[in-house]
Symmetry: C2
């Protein structure tokens, strides 16, 4: 079974190494250091952890980073004012607003207020539109872009294959379906988007050459839903209670890994599969934003 695992950590490190090389080139040839601003509103502990990981990765790879933290009581207007500043700030090439946002702030309004050319999270409607149209000047959201890279770098051929995506979220399901159905050599898949309202879900999943689970339900995908030899990508990161460990919980994916892995030709573990790719793609997108702004790319 070991040969069948997709090692997301190792692939993310490949991408990080490429990012380091790109940054060195930008510094040497153009005196340019790519910069990322991460905006955090409130005290969600998960968000704080993610933001710290992003900070650390920036300093490890050699990006400039700024963290801007606000209390949970911040108004939408205050946040928009800061985004406006960041949109104009020259040292900042990428802007990320950490989700979730407190209820008085509309995530839609915020995502749409980041300059699309600094939208390294790829959540602005214009960038989603470019993704839908196959326009390469936009940014793809980091997790789906990471899934795409995992497939490419694992030698999985998507051309003509049937990809079934479980979930239609703006963050994963929708954009990954757009990426993989684009008219492009590394895409060109036949893509089916399923969701909570879908009928005959197990049957549709069984018809997948590549099954991407992004539905946010622990162990939702069972062995009977997977065709022998399918490639299974598990985007889920769910906390389930586990008193045997210190933290009191462990992370599991949307796929019942132990039962599904023997049937799959390739499968991502959780953790260590898609997870590490998200930050790697964020760093990559930030460097690309800097390159595009300065006409280097």
């Amino acid at each position: 079974m070991l040969g069948k695992l997709i090692d997301g950590k190792a692939i993310a490190e490949q991408i990080n190494a490429e990012t380091v090389a790109e940054i060195a080139c930008l510094k040497e040839q153009y005196g340019l250091t790519p910069g990322l601003a991460v905006v955090l509103v409130g005290e969600n502990p998960g968000s704080a952890t993610y933001v710290s990981m992003k900070d650390k990765m920036c300093s490890r790879l050699g990006l400039h980073s700024e963290r801007i933290s606000f209390p949970a009581s911040t108004s939408e207007g205050e946040l928009l004012a800061i985004l406006n500043d960041l949109n104009f700030k020259r040292e900042i090439h990428g802007i990320l607003v950490q989700s979730p946002l407190p209820p008085q702030i509309s995530a839609e309004d915020i995502f749409a207020s980041v300059d699309p050319s600094k939208d390294v999270d790829g959540f602005h409607p214009l960038n989603i539109g470019k993704l839908a149209l196959g326009d390469p000047t936009g940014f793809a959201p980091c997790t789906p872009a990471g899934v795409h890279e995992l497939l490419i770098r694992s030698g999985v051929k998507t051309d003509g294959a049937h990809v079934v995506v479980l979930g239609r979220s703006r963050i994963v399901g929708r954009p990954v379906s757009l990426i993989l159905s684009q008219k492009a050599p590394d895409a060109n898949a036949t893509v089916t988007v399923c969701h909570s309202r879908s009928r005959n879900l197990a049957e549709i999943c069984r018809s997948a050459d590549i099954l991407i689970a992004a539905i946010g339900v622990p162990h939702f995908v069972t062995a009977d839903m997977v065709r022998d030899g399918a490639v299974v990508i598990d985007v889920g990161i769910n906390r389930v209670e586990d008193k045997a460990v210190d933290k009191g919980y462990r992370l599991v994916g949307d796929v019942a890994f132990d039962a599904v892995a023997p049937k799959a030709s390739l499968i991502t573990p959780v953790p260590g599969g898609v997870g590490p790719m998200t930050i790697a793609m964020l760093m990559h997108n930030t460097v690309r934003a800097a390159q595009m702004r300065h006409g280097v790319a």
Copy 2:
């Protein structure tokens, strides 16, 4: 078989009647006449016909319309300058640039230069992004919006159903797949997007509850590709030679109608199915653009 036809002409006339009522209301209550500008470049005879049909429909329904024609030699810069004027022109609420454009002009650049709030054709990447995100403030392209209305007004339930879309064009295939997979009562379908690279196409088509053909190949969909009782929507408008008629050609769809119709529970004819819906939705979008600009809606 007669009861199974979806009468696109009749449904388009329902929508046109609603549009007339909306226009009357805008005129009476706000002294406002919705206005559409149609830009035509070159002398493509098909385009000239379409533009004339749009002009006539505007005057029939009571919209203000302007037709702006340019020679085929027009530069992209000249066209962009006119679009800029139209973007600011108060009497104009909707702008349509007729495709195809001559080779020296990038359609992508032009679509992206129409003010998204006047983009009644729904081709601006921002509007495609809003469609992907289920944001109702955008405009859906007219043909896919027309397909959606045909399904709704024919009583076809899409919720949980499997929709197979043949084709992934920016004009039809891609946006119709986005509309029908949205999280909304009249959508919520499981949508598979197929295209020229898809493997096992016949098998996938046979799994469709609703099959939408927008691939541009005469009679591509044969009876063996359709499940008994499926709903079949034919978006194709193909000219095939026919010496028996004066024009020398006749219009056929992407579906082999005579063979498929007996298997389908509902089917659109060509012509008289999807075709009349496109202009009806263009008129509808233009009125909506006027309503949105004036905060009436």
